[in-house]
Symmetry: D2
Subunit: 93 residues, 4 copies
């Protein structure tokens, strides 16, 4: 669960990322140098990575703490599975 | 340099990514489950990764081929530097 | 904390990775094609990634569950910090 | 193609990485804290990443330059394909 501070901050970041994606589109339209486009794409990816870090932090602080504290073994198992799955999605091969 | 086909395809992909970023914002607004948000962020990152692959392919096919074929050692050096820099930006730590 | 099964399995994987690193050295000595060397390095990195997944799973199943269930807020905070730090170390930029 | 300097430097790095893998094994045997093990695994992955950067640099400086300069379109195509494949192997999802 995100709290209001998280939500406000993430919203600001996502707006900026939307702007970065538009900026990449403009660079493509304006025939800008490929390497500059690649640098901007990397920056947008990094910015999304920061958002994911924040969402993960909120997730650990709330859902995972609650689940692990609950003593419900099935729920706990599911949460561990999900975290490993998330880790796998973001880790490079 | 991107050709018209590349530009059209990348534009389509960037439009879809802009939609994904909006979708993530909606998920945040609607208080959706953090793990589902993380999955969507990973998907948007992966989609940006595919765009970068396409831009890199175009770059290799055009600028890099031209540079390496030119025999201009300084330009060649610069191109190699840039490619390693791009590689470093995308590789996980 | 790793249990005996984890430890045995991870040991087997690390032995294999040590062999992969030796193999890469042999390829370098034998002047093998760079792209083949790069493919083997990527394979060793991926194998290390799988070990980290297993260690992380054990960590979540034991230390993190215990900490989050303990109600000790400071310890919990520290565990969350550590997990985000680990996540950051493995995520690509 | 690696030159002698590259080969010597990469050999030194691979030796160090072999030592890191042994160190990880010792940490596992000694029941060290999972997060410390994960940090060491990340360090070994990063060290392999640096080797790959060096191999890639040598590859670009030699094989790729030669191929792109040769005017042999099939060979050039193959080299571009290989580079994109390498890029894909190292990029995070």
């Amino acid at each position: 669960m995100l709290n209001d501070d998280n939500r406000a901050d993430i919203t600001k970041r996502l707006n900026r990322i939307a702007g970065q994606v538009q900026g990449i589109q403009r660079m493509v339209d304006d025939d800008r140098y490929c390497v500059d486009i690649l640098t901007q794409i990397a920056a947008a990816r990094a910015a999304l990575g920061k958002v994911s870090n924040q969402v993960l932090e909120a997730h650990l602080d709330t859902c995972v703490v609650t689940s692990f504290a609950s003593g419900n073994e099935n729920d706990r198992e599911a949460k561990v599975r999900e975290l490993l799955d998330v880790f796998g999605r973001y880790m490079s091969k």
